[in-house]
């Protein structure tokens, strides 16, 4: 209860951060006594918010710590669906696990799980995603798309398009997509996307779209085995970014492309993907679980697979790690 009220006090302060608001005004809007408001202001200060207090004028928010808690994000959301329900955990084993549990319990489409830190962030096939506290965006979005299961892999490419667009909007950094959906800056990984589908042989029950975005890590934050392959927006952009604003932007862009996809199909997503990827026309090596294919990436096909020209053969790639020559 106290937490809910604290969020409301914060929301009121966030909405009016240009002006002072009297304690009386805040207590009227939130519906509690002035003494209670004072208590919540003290707690917000303990969380890192700087709130200026002036006699006869009231309170004004002057500094927001880079938090990813629910009220920070909801304040900036402009979506109808995505992120309308948020579950925030300061520390979680993995947001994927929480999202699966929530989805099975009936979470509506667009529900979002965010953690400030993941102790065992999930990568693909049991790999671990490095997710230290207060630096990155670790979150999982629940989808219930009304599409046949065979088309579900469209969503992994759609996710890379949505997240890239959001990052570009916020940072102007030259994000490139590596097939199918890794986001790179200067050839190093900035974001990984893990898409897990639960369903039977003919029906999607739900999809959990997991995203890890390296935002404010400094280069010495990365463990040595990641230094060569991973980077962050802060390292590349030489400034720090608000994670809450970026999450709100990611929700906006993902929702935009998702609704566009449901209305117009994969074609507009494919066009945008091809323009954001620097793979098409390049010589690549694709290591699939079955073989190693060397050739030129020719196009993205209508199901999202990568068409690779190898000698006279045109090979369809469904699963692979891709390296540019």
């Amino acid at each position: 209860m106290g937490q809910v009220l604290r969020h409301e006090v914060l929301s009121v302060l966030l909405e009016n951060s240009a002006n002072f608001l009297s304690g009386e005004e805040i207590s009227k809007r939130v519906g509690v006594s002035r003494a209670a408001i004072w208590k919540h202001i003290k707690e917000l200060r303990n969380e890192g918010y700087e709130i200026e207090a002036k006699p006869r004028k009231g309170y004004r928010l002057i500094y927001r710590p880079d938090r990813v808690a629910t009220e920070e994000i909801q304040n900036e959301l402009s979506t109808k669906l995505f992120g309308q329900q948020i579950r925030y955990e300061p520390v979680a084993k993995s947001t994927q696990i929480l999202a699966h549990q929530w989805a099975r319990a009936g979470a509506p489409e667009g529900s979002l799980v965010i953690a400030d830190e993941q102790q065992a962030g999930k990568g693909r096939l049991g790999r671990v995603w490095y997710s230290p506290p207060k630096t990155g965006i670790w979150m999982s979005l629940i989808l219930r798309p009304p599409i046949p299961i065979q088309q579900a892999s469209h969503l992994t490419l759609l996710a890379s398009v949505g997240v890239s667009s959001a990052i570009i909007n916020q940072t102007n950094l030259p994000i490139k997509i590596k097939w199918p959906n890794d986001l790179l800056l200067q050839g190093k990984k900035i974001c990984g996307i893990l898409t897990e589908l639960r369903g039977d042989q003919d029906k999607i029950e739900y999809i959990v779209l997991g995203m890890g975005i390296n935002v404010n890590q400094q280069s010495d934050h990365f463990p040595s085995e990641l230094k060569e392959v991973a980077t962050s927006l802060a390292v590349q952009g030489k400034q720090s970014y608000s994670r809450a604003s970026l999450i709100a932007e990611v929700m906006k862009e993902l929702e935009y492309y998702y609704l566009l996809y449901l209305e117009q199909g994969f074609e507009p997503i494919r066009n945008r993907w091809e323009s954001l990827s620097d793979l098409i026309g390049k010589k690549i090596t694709a290591k699939t679980p079955q073989a190693k294919v060397v050739g030129v990436a020719e196009s993205l096909s209508s199901d999202g697979s990568l068409m690779v020209r190898s000698g006279k053969e045109l090979i369809t790639i469904y699963s692979a790690d891709i390296d540019k020559e």
Binding site: L125, G126, G199, D200, Q201, S305, T316, S319
Partner: protein
């Protein structure tokens, strides 16, 4: 000339039952060529074969015919028993078949395991979409029909289950 679909189907049936390997018909600039798929297992299973061709029957059967340049079918899983009371769990999409959640983990299911309709039996992955496939039936796994890391087709049988 213009052959109708049912005529082509009839031709395929005739050739299937015959000892002919290849058949071509050319008239008025239109050409139909039908060729039986090579029976040997291909080693590099990267290209997407057309629709999965179910194995017709066990051993010593003429290979299934394929129209035009249709690639050979995926290595057909041997189906020893003709038990019709066995349930087939089939792949809902083209992708890579994984028996476990990670290379070090135990398989989701093995032969002899009891499963229920919500049991996850495998992952089929395409474009990094990890599809955790539920069994849809309760019973016992009789046979695992695909190999870990294999590319499987839409509709390809992955498991035989004896329903309980």
């Amino acid at each position: 000339m213009t052959l109708k679909m049912h005529e082509i189907r009839e031709l395929i049936q005739l050739i299937d039952d015959s000892s002919i390997d290849e058949f071509e018909l050319e008239k008025d600039g239109e050409k139909v060529s039908i060729r039986k798929a090579k029976p040997e297992v291909i080693t590099q299973q990267v290209a997407a074969p057309a629709a999965y061709v179910p194995p017709v029957a066990p051993q010593a059967v003429p290979p299934a015919p394929a129209v035009q340049e249709t690639a050979p079918a995926a290595s057909a899983p041997a189906e020893e028993s003709t038990d019709t009371d066995l349930h087939k769990i089939v792949s809902p999409m083209v992708g890579t078949f994984y028996r476990a959640s990670s290379p070090d983990a135990d398989p989701y299911v093995s032969e002899g395991d009891t499963i229920n309709s919500k049991s996850v039996v495998c992952i089929v992955e395409a474009m990094k979409l990890m599809n955790e496939l539920e069994a849809e039936v309760s019973g016992t796994i009789v046979q695992v029909l695909a190999e870990n890391g294999q590319l499987v087709e839409y509709g390809q049988p992955l498991f035989l289950v004896k329903p309980s």
